[in-house]
Each structure stands twice: as C-alpha cells, then as structure tokens.
C-alpha cells in the first residue's frame, strides 16, 4: 500500500514537472513569453539553484558561509574557458564547472570548517574575495575587464534541467541518512560527535555539494548574460543569495525556492520605480522579516501533506 502510493506520488511529480516544462517551452516557442520574461525566468532558475545550494550549507548544516558568489565565479569562469577558449560543448563546460567549484569548495572547506559561527563567516567571506581578486589578476581571462561576448547556450531546457537536478540532489541528500547526520550537526555539534558522527566529514560534504551546485549556477549565468567579470561575483552577490535563504527560512528547500522567485520578481516589478527602487526593496525585506522572523517558511517544507491539511482538513 505504502509502496504503491509512493509510486503514484512519484508519477504525479514527474507528470507535473513535465507539464510545467512543456508549458513554458510552448510559451517560449510561440512568443507568448517575450525576451523580458525569458530573462527573468533565467534569473529565477539561477537564483533557485543558488539559494537551494546555499541553504544546504547555511540552513541544513548550520554553517554560515558568505562565499557563495566565489564558487559561482569559479563555475562561471571554468565553463567559459571550456566552451569559449577551448571550444568544448556546453555539457563539458557544465561538468567542468561543477568539478572545479567542488574542488574549490573542498580546498576551502577542509581548513575553514574547523572554525565555527562568526569565524567561519569571516573566513568564507575572505576566501570569496580571494577568488575574485585572483581572477582579476589572471590575464588569460582578461583580468578585471572580464570575458565579453560569451555565446548564449543557456536555454530553457538546460535551466529547467539544472534547477530540477539541484532540488533533487539537495532534497534526496537531506532525506537520506547522510542528511540526518548533517542536520544533527546543525542541531548540536558536540552531541552528534558523541553519537559517533564524524562532524567534519559531513560539514565538508555539504560544503562541497553546495559549492558544486553554485558552480553549476555560475556556468548557467555566464552562458546567459553574455559577459562575466570578477566584480559581478563580489561579496554583495553572496549577500543577495544569503538574503534569499534567510527570507525563505533557514533549513527549508521550498522556502529557498519561494524566496528566490519572490526576490527575482520583486526586483523586476520595482524596475518601474528607478529612484526609490532600492529603498522599496529594503523596506519590503524589513517588513517581511518583522512579521516572519523565521523566514517565509520557517524550517517547514511546503509539501502535499500541508496542502492536504489546509484544503482537505485531514490530518
């Protein structure tokens, strides 16, 4: 009975996702979604990948990382070097981006994850800056001027695939025994260590996976927005991602997704008020945080059970 209903749920999930994909693809090919909406759609997908992956580090593992834009930069540059300079296909660029960012996450994670709380935040912030300044000084990628004229390869199927991949990886990881170990580290590091959990191993694992997905987002970004330069990936970008995670609720994947959609849409809507745009943006964030200090979703997930509880009234 349980297995059967699980299978049915899986089928429904696949159907819903396929329908969503085909619907948007149909809108794009028929021109119903013009260029402007396509750009915002791409921003939404990229922001979802970034927010969900940072949420794995900040929300589920409880390690405050402020260097996410740095991994995004590694992914963006690695993929662009592959596709533009070495003439490889996009998929190779994506894989190399993921590997490079994961490697970067590993190299940075091993020494810094021994630190906790504020110390880790400062260390990751600094390391994000190191990545940016290093890129500024590499002549092969044009230093501070960045790489211009990147061929657009990020299309809706790629964006959709990458977003679904990211959410699947994070959700399945969290629901596995590894995920429970990761959450136990967040809840109480000392207690979980006493229970025999290798906390450093799980912290590094979450960090590497988060970095890898950020690299994927960076590759998507680079091949959509025509230009990348080191300054794009400064610490303000890291904070933008952090804002999405906190707004959505630390430790809620659906929260991160909702917040990424919300922030991207908010930015787009406020374009019509150029003079007071950033004031309104900040004001809305403050209001949301006053009324929902735990974030839009807290650490809850938006799932079928919740829908059922609300609309059907059943437990």
């Amino acid at each position: 009975m349980q297995i059967k209903s699980k299978f049915i749920r899986f089928c429904i999930d696949v159907l819903v996702l396929t329908a969503l994909f085909i619907l948007v693809q149909y809108f794009i090919t028929t021109g119903l979604l013009d260029q402007y909406y396509q750009i915002n759609l791409a921003s939404m997908c990229i922001n979802i990948i970034l927010a969900v992956s940072l949420n794995l580090i900040n929300g589920f593992t409880g390690q405050l990382s402020l260097g996410h834009a740095g991994f995004m930069a590694v992914g963006a540059y690695a993929s662009v070097v592959m596709t533009q300079m070495l003439g490889q296909p996009f998929i190779v660029g994506l894989i190399v981006a993921c590997l490079a960012a994961a490697l970067g996450g590993f190299i940075i994670g091993v020494p810094t994850l021994r630190l906790r709380g504020d110390y880790l935040a400062i260390a990751t912030l600094a390391l994000g800056e190191i990545i940016r300044v290093t890129l500024q000084n590499i002549d092969y990628v044009n230093g501070p001027a960045g790489i211009l004229g990147i061929t657009k390869m990020t299309t809706w199927p790629w964006l959709f695939g990458a977003t679904v991949f990211t959410v699947l990886v994070v959700v399945n990881l969290i629901n596995s025994s590894y995920g429970r170990a990761i959450i136990s580290v967040r809840e109480d590091e000392v207690a979980s260590e006493l229970m025999g959990i290798n906390t450093t191993k799980y912290k590094v694992m979450a960090f590497v996976i988060g970095a890898m997905l950020a690299g994927l987002a960076g590759a998507m970004y680079a091949h959509f927005f025509y230009i990348i330069k080191p300054d794009t990936f400064n610490f303000m970008k890291s904070f933008d991602i952090l804002v999405m995670v906190v707004l959505g609720g630390l430790g809620s994947t659906t929260g991160a997704i909702i917040a990424a959609l919300f922030i991207t849409a908010l930015t787009a809507v406020l374009q019509s008020f150029p003079a007071i745009r950033m004031i309104l943006y900040a004001l809305i964030l403050i209001i949301v945080m006053i009324y929902r200090p735990q974030g839009l979703m807290g650490n809850k997930e938006l799932s079928r059970q919740i829908f059922g509880r609300i609309w059907g009234g059943r437990k």
Partner: protein, 397 residues
C-alpha cells in the same frame, strides 16, 4: 485547530503575495503597451543607467545630462514634429540587470537606448539591442571591444558611443607634450596593473615617437603602491623634460608629491583617472603646479555652447556638470542628429544614420563616427594651477 487556521492564513498571505507580484508583472506590461498606443506622436527614448550600486554617481549625472537635453529639445519643438519621451530605468550597476532592463525597454517601443555607463554593463545590454535591432548609444563606455566583436573583428551594428576610447588619451597627451610643451625626452611611469594605464602608455609612446620625441625610460607601478621614491630617483637620473603617468588618482597623487619632494620639477601628465578632488588634498597645491591631464570636457571651457550648457545645467540641478553629465547630454543630441538625418523615428534607419554622422558639434567636442562606431573627437588638456583645475587647451587629433 487554532494552529492550523493560523497556518492556513500564513500560506494564503504568501500565495496572495506571489499572485500580486505575478499579476503586477503582467499588468505593467499591458499598461506600457497602451501608453505607447495612446501617444503615437511620442518618440520613446530608453535611459538605462546605473542609479544605484557601485557607479551610481556616474549614472545619475549622465541621466541628468540626458534629461536636460530632452527637455531643451522638446521645448524647441521636438524632433520630426514629435516630442521625446524618456523612459528612465536603473540597472543597479550589474550586467545582468542591464540586460533585463534593456529587454523591458524594448517592450516600450524605444527608438534608441542611452547608457549604461560602464563597459561591462553595456556588454550586458548588447545582445538584446543587437537581437532587436535598436541602437544603443553609450555615453562613457571606453573599452575598445564594446563596439567591436572581439572574435569576428566585426563592428557591432547597433552599438555606438560618444566618448573617446581610453588609449586615445595617450595620443592626445603626446601631441600636447610635443607641440605645446616642446618636450623631447619623455619618461613613461605607468600603472601596469590596469588595461587603462597600459593602453594610455602604449599610445603615448607611439604618437610621441611619431612627433620626433624620444622615450628615454619606461617604468611601472601597480595599484595600491604608496612609495615611489626609488623609481623616481632613477627617473630623475634620466633627465627627462616630461613624465607621463597614466593611472588613477589614488596612486598618482602621492607619486607627484614624492616627485616634487625629490626635486623633479619637469611637467607631469596623465589621463582622466586624475580627475578627483583627492588629487589636491593629497598632493597639495604646490606640487601639482605644472601638471596636466586629458579629459573629455571642461566645465570652464569658454566655448559659447559649453557656457550655455553649464548655465542651463546649473539652473536645473544646482550643481556643476561633470564629464558624465556632458556625455549624457551629447548622447541625446547625437541621437537627435541621427533622427533628423534618418527622417524617421525608426531604430534601424537611425542606426544607419548614426554610423554616417560627420562633424557633429557636441558639448564634448566636434565628433565624427568612424567605421568602428567610435567618435573621432577633440579632447581637452586640464592644468592644475594652485590647486584649481584650469582648462589649458582643446586638442583636435
């Protein structure tokens, strides 16, 4: 039960929020569509500039200059019998936002886009403008690959600019040093950590050589250097009669101060990276005497057109117009010239007309658009006199 109903409300509020945003998005696009329909005799001009973020001050001044130009043109009867309608949007100093804004502006039926200011943000806008065949006039994007595709070497058909590209300032200063200062032996002491410094130095060297001068020494420093005494002592030994220091004011100001302390009295020249109040406060009035730099324009120019512009700008905004304001103003004027030449408010015809503009009289000098969509134009030499920036001369290449 109580907990449940509270949750219900929370979810409802969130959903309502999301719906409102989605609806807002859709409604907005519809509004603008109607607007464009209602005002058929309006020409929409997109102004996509940095009003927030890292270079907000550039964007704000350029926008002010552009709006002043539009106001003046509308007051004198508009273009082709139509009024110009500016649509101002903020690109937050990021390339991705510049792209999104450009796409939004395309939806407003603009005839051309003015801005963004920095080369990187213009690059973000470029694919949208090229796809939709709408000209983009960049007021201050100085990187050479903004108007030319690096890979194919072809000129981007719909991308124009009204500023000279960076390296050109090296040519101007070499002309000035050789012709006006009668320099024969020059030393280059460039910021080698930026393309800006390297580009200016290269063009200075080339032109100075063509003018019969000799480069007796080439030295370099990098960003954030603070002590230049060792190299300056070496330069002093070379006995130059001119020193060229292309770089930014953060390093140039202490450099000049130290040079004068070491007894180097020869003229020193540089580029628009010197243009900052910090030059005077760090180097001091005395040390800055006999130093010159190239710039797009000077608000002290006595040319009647410039005087008129400066007065109008001051009257409207109560501040001194800087180079960005003048370039923003010129971008609109150049577009208007293009519209007049094309005799139609049509983006494709406008682009063709812009590419052919010759001897256009702008605030920042007389310019002709060359085959790479760069303006061939004059620059000004500004001299420091007892701590004040004084316009020395205007140089036509």
């Amino acid at each position: 039960m109580k907990k449940n109903s509270r949750k219900k409300i929370a979810v409802l509020i969130i959903m309502a929020f999301m719906l409102a945003i989605v609806a807002g998005c859709g409604g907005e696009a519809k509004d603008t569509g109607d607007k464009a329909g209602d005002k058929a005799e309006m020409i929409n001009v997109g102004i996509n500039v940095e009003l927030s973020g890292g270079v907000a001050s550039y964007g704000t001044n350029a926008k002010d200059g552009a709006l002043l130009a539009i106001e003046q043109i509308n007051a004198s009867g508009g273009v082709l019998g139509m009024q110009l309608n500016p649509v101002v949007k903020d690109c937050k100093s990021t390339a991705d936002e510049a792209m999104s804004i450009s796409a939004a502006l395309v939806g407003e039926n603009i005839v051309a886009q003015i801005g963004p200011l920095t080369s990187g943000d213009v690059a973000g806008s470029t694919p949208i403008m090229m796809d939709n065949k709408i000209p983009l006039i960049a007021p201050a994007a100085t990187a050479s690959n903004v108007t030319v595709d690096d890979k194919t070497g072809k000129t981007n058909e719909y991308i124009f600019r009204v500023c000279f590209i960076d390296p050109f300032q090296g040519t101007l200063m070499a002309q000035f040093a050789a012709d006006n200062l009668k320099a024969k032996n020059a030393v280059i002491y460039a910021d080698t950590s930026t393309d800006y410094g390297k580009g200016l130095a290269e063009y200075f060297k080339k032109t100075f050589g063509e003018k019969g001068g000799t480069i007796v020494g080439e030295e370099g420093y990098v960003k954030d250097d603070r002590d230049f005494r060792a190299t300056l002592t070496k330069i002093k030994g070379m006995n130059p009669d001119f020193i060229y220091v292309p770089g930014y004011y953060q390093e140039v100001a202490p450099l000049i101060k130290q040079a004068r302390e070491l007894g180097i009295t020869v003229p020193i020249g540089g580029g628009d990276g010197w243009d900052s109040p910090d030059m005077v406060s760090v180097a001091g009035n005395e040390a800055l005497n006999n130093t010159y730099f190239t710039n797009h324009y000077s608000s002290q120019d006595t040319d009647p057109n410039i005087v008129k512009f400066v007065e109008a700008y001051k009257a409207k905004y109560n501040k001194e117009p800087d180079a960005f304001a003048a370039l923003g103003y010129d971008a609109i004027q150049l577009m208007v010239q293009g519209l007049k030449d094309a005799q139609a408010a049509d983006p494709v015809k406008l682009a063709a007309a812009l590419a052919k503009i010759k001897d256009f009289e702008g605030i920042t000098g007389k310019m002709s658009i060359d085959e790479k969509h760069n303006p061939v134009k004059a620059g000004v030499i500004i001299e420091f006199k007892d701590g004040a920036q004084v316009m020395n001369t205007r140089i036509q290449p």
